[in-house]
Symmetry: C2
Subunit: 189 residues, 2 copies
DNA sequence: TTGTTAGCGTGTCATATGACACATTTTTTT
DNA sequence: AAAAAAATGTGTCATATGACACGCTAACAA
């Protein structure tokens, strides 16, 4: 699965692809299990194979805010903590049973040092993630809450089904009750 | 100035730094001048030396939304368009007289191909931009409009002074009138 | 199985916000 | 310098939203 993900970024010689995959280890976590506790140094990049992760933080007033719901087939980490080796305030827990691949920081740098082609390969992935992140942020700026919900429903209906509504509401930046009203309006129409 | 910006990302041998700088050309634009017209292919990365740029788009209903106000000492482009050579719907105009450095795509790739150290150097910049982008997006999620305004005021008071309030309001995701009420409350206190 | 907890649906109500309208000020143009 | 245009300050008002409260159902644990 990770192999297919990598292939989407261009072809690599077999031995290099094998090396890349050899640096990752598959793990599992039960529903409710904590992947990243608060104030922790994040030391890995994760590739989610199945299930959903809940990445969240708290406001000054103690309200929990969903920053991202990590879906299958996505590479994810708390980048700032990973890059600068600082502790991350935010937390990440499993919303369902999950299966994922883990790439440790040391192995990440081993890959980048291995060869120019591998280094370029990784950088292509980083560039694409940045590009998607910017597009996502810009869309969020120009869409209403309702549009964001419809967008999510269209792009990731399974997530909307599997993840609690309260978390979806927080993700798109509104309250549980308002998301309700939106859904009622939509089913009525 | 660009030289200082680069130095912030680590040291480079003199000849490599000179090569890097030689690929950039300084340009100017008058207030109101268009840097990127709508539906245009963006072919450069820009480093702003002085002045402010207005990067914006339009919603389905034709309302103009500010996506970013580009301040001095920042590298910026419409990344998706630059990377994938697709036209960008969004536009960018000068809010004041501006001076900037331009790095063309061809020169960008020339730098990446020149040497491993230069390629790594550029990638470090990309990684940092990504990291900052994620932090910015997360902060936006967990802050109220008023907190975002105070944050902007603290981190970039000059921008708040130089840029029209209506644009600041759009940037932090509210109306001109609401930003007004916020400012009135703040000056009263 | 039973008890407990977490999540969902819905109603009421105070309030912050956006839309509109218009006066005032500042900036730009002629 | 005068006129025109753009940006800003401010008031009113309808409305969408968040907060709270409560009942219900589904999931989970003892």
């Amino acid at each position: 699965m990770l192999h297919d993900y990598f292939k989407g970024f261009g072809s690599l010689p077999h031995d290099e692809m094998d090396f890349l995959l050899s640096q990752c280890t598959t793990k599992e976590l039960k529903k409710g299990g904590v992947l990243i506790p608060p104030n922790h140094h994040v030391d890995s990049i994760y590739f989610l194979e199945s299930g959903y992760l809940h990445y969240f933080t708290y406001t000054e007033l103690g309200e929990r805010v969903t920053l991202k719901v990590v879906s299958p087939n996505i590479c994810w980490t708390i980048l700032d903590s990973f890059m600068n080796q600082t502790p991350a305030e935010d937390e990440c827990v499993a919303l369902t049973d999950v299966r994922f691949c883990e790439l440790k920081r040391s192995n990440y740098f081993a890959i980048k040092d291995k060869s120019k082609s591998l280094s370029d390969f990784i950088n292509r992935i980083i560039e694409q993630i940045l590009s998607l992140k910017v597009i996502e942020a810009n869309n969020k700026s120009k869409m209403t809450v309702e549009e964001r919900y419809l967008d999510l429903l269209q792009k990731n209906p399974e997530m909307v089904r599997e993840v609690p509504i309260s978390i979806i509401a927080s993700l798109i930046g509104t309250s549980r009750e308002t998301l309700h009203r939106i859904r009622r309006r939509l089913t009525a129409a």
